[in-house]
Symmetry: C2
Amino acid sequence: MTQLLATAPNAETAPMILAGVLLSLVFIYLASKLGGELSKLVDLPPVLGELVAGVVVGVSALHLLVFPETGAAASDSVVITILQQIAGLNPESTQEVFALSSEVISVLAELGVIILLFEIGLESDLRELQKVGSQAAVVAVVGVVAPFIAGTAGLMLIFGLPTIPAVFAGAALTATSIGITSKVLSELGQLKSTEGQIIVGAAIIDDILGIIVLAVVASLARTGEVDVTNLVYLIISATAFILGSIFLGKFFNKSFVAIAEKLQTRGKLVIPALIFAFSMAFLANAIGLEAILGAFAAGLVLDETDKRKELDKEIIPIADILVPIFFVSVGAKVDLSVLNPTSVDNRQGLIIAAFLIVVAIISKLITGWTVFGKEKINRLAIGIGMIPRGEVGLVFAGIAEASGVLDKPLQAAIIIMVIVTTFVAPPLLRFAFPQGELTEKPDLALEK
Amino acid sequence: MTQLLATAPNAETAPMILAGVLLSLVFIYLASKLGGELSKLVDLPPVLGELVAGVVVGVSALHLLVFPETGAAASDSVVITILQQIAGLNPESTQEVFALSSEVISVLAELGVIILLFEIGLESDLRELQKVGSQAAVVAVVGVVAPFIAGTAGLMLIFGLPTIPAVFAGAALTATSIGITSKVLSELGQLKSTEGQIIVGAAIIDDILGIIVLAVVASLARTGEVDVTNLVYLIISATAFILGSIFLGKFFNKSFVAIAEKLQTRGKLVIPALIFAFSMAFLANAIGLEAILGAFAAGLVLDETDKRKELDKEIIPIADILVPIFFVSVGAKVDLSVLNPTSVDNRQGLIIAAFLIVVAIISKLITGWTVFGKEKINRLAIGIGMIPRGEVGLVFAGIAEASGVLDKPLQAAIIIMVIVTTFVAPPLLRFAFPQGELTEKPDLALEK
């Protein structure tokens, strides 16, 4: 960590910090829109384009957006160079503006992922889940356990990694991306098919399990050692936190709606919702879990209210401006040069990336075969539907980066795994559901 | 300014900074909603309640939200005390968490005022303005010049203040609050009356003039001296910036709509709008003006597009979560103890506050009498309608705080002036428009 002398910003540097933040946001938004739209044009999920655009503007290439945590100096930052040209800052002020404006962007990115998880919670319908029932639950549990064990064990036994990084990378392999899968399924007209419902149901449970796993692993990483008592405490507290929120939420729901209906001033719905989400995020953080677990639980609770649709509509623009900061930052912090294949030192990182990709794909394919009770079910399609790691995988990578337990090659390998699994799933899914096998005529190959 | 040793946040302090920001936001939102709703209940503008609630949670009373710039130490902050109880931080980390989380909140507040001015720009309809025409323009110009000269001259001649603080306080007396006045007018059914149209028209021009005055004064404050060349440069550049934006905007408009229509991914309208607003804010900052001038100009430009209504709807929730951070922070940073009347040292500050209030009210009343060309116009009502300073006055106070040119008593006096003018205008306006004199039957007392 670079040690630097910083002052509480004074009248000279304060406007420069704001200028640095504004310029960084302009670069982030330009990158996210360019990347997202190009991705959409070639029929890939926009989030993938945002991530790749982040890599392009970040420390790996253009240096439009660099962070001190990655070891970059102020002089590496294009934003800071522009500010210097304009204001002629002295070296000390330059360091300060770089450190503080980067920190503001980092916190905005963290608020972005908190809002993202709040939104995912709002969109996870617990009642729908109960319908898909036990099949989805089995797929979800196997789909979390299989890649976690295969990944962690492989990294420790084959590559000789220490426990904490291996556990973290294993955990990053667990959670399926709801967003990407459900988008492709709906394009194929398979969202309401039995396979579609199992996949989406499993992906939701998967998210919950994945976030619990993340909360546990991140806490382990923070304490730096795997202590069984601590592990048991974390698993119990994370599970109790989610289940407790859902249970207490049933009572809280009514008060929330009653309060929101009494309010008269602007933001009467969104501000109480954010007070709740941020309080839960703070609470989760305070008891040693991750802030995002609290935000997710808050979303699950408010999803059950009558105000849900209205709230959803108001959260969307807020998510639209904050979430891209997260995805672009994750990309920008990845130093792809550590995987440059021309250098012999990088072989290990590349091999680990390849290993993670193979485990990520095979473990979810196996998961598909654990569906029981249906004769003619398309098990291959279910397995493929669970492959993309997307947003949630990136949340893991982001948290990993913040906790500082992963070395750069392993971190880059996780990002590569997320990108590849997200790239391969849509075409494979189209292949697994043959043309014409649409839900509009579901009796051809599917039982209802 | 306190000098302190800060590090780029490491794995231990990074989650604490996020926790500090989350807890501060919870306090800010609770204060803004409590204050805003109570204010609304007693039929006062919500923004006034938010400001007063900010004073209550801030350095003057509860210390839930304190900032290092006001001279507060980490141990004064309730947020930091709570974090220490939870995490047991060492003194150095405590300082760092306090400095960095406060800085993040300050930047969020600045983004809030940028979004606020962008929204005001979006709502200022330039075509409507042309209808009210010359009468509104005269009222606006007199309404800016009269309080500015009376305030600045009075502070220098009567109280012997130096030029820069006197000019700043004089400038804070200029801009009328559109929001508060137009709300009261519409409640009285007078928004479409001749008086109502002149008031609103003048208030819009007033805003533009006021923001130009602010940009000029803030730059003067930054350089620290009143240099005629610099003054002329600033006035010309600020005016050229606004007029240039409006002129070039007519061409840019079409490209903006064309681009927004081609985009397919989430945030397709709000992200390009923010790229434009933040770029303009950065540009204004870079040429030595205020960032808010750029955001306001961006709003004026986009107001002219077909996408305006759609964009307005998406900006509202974003403004709802960012703008209260600004108003509550402005209140929280005011140290009311400097105006405590039991101490003899504070007499000067109190007398200045009283002086500013008198000038603020009388100068706008005089402005009302400059309306020409109408026989039976209600000049008293026009003058009263221009009294409330509201949001824009607070923007002045916020900028003044950031630039550090005002001493605490003068700063508190400006806040008191804003509060009092905003309190007195609504009842006086009800008095000036006698009951029954509604626009529904406008021929009774008004010519159309």
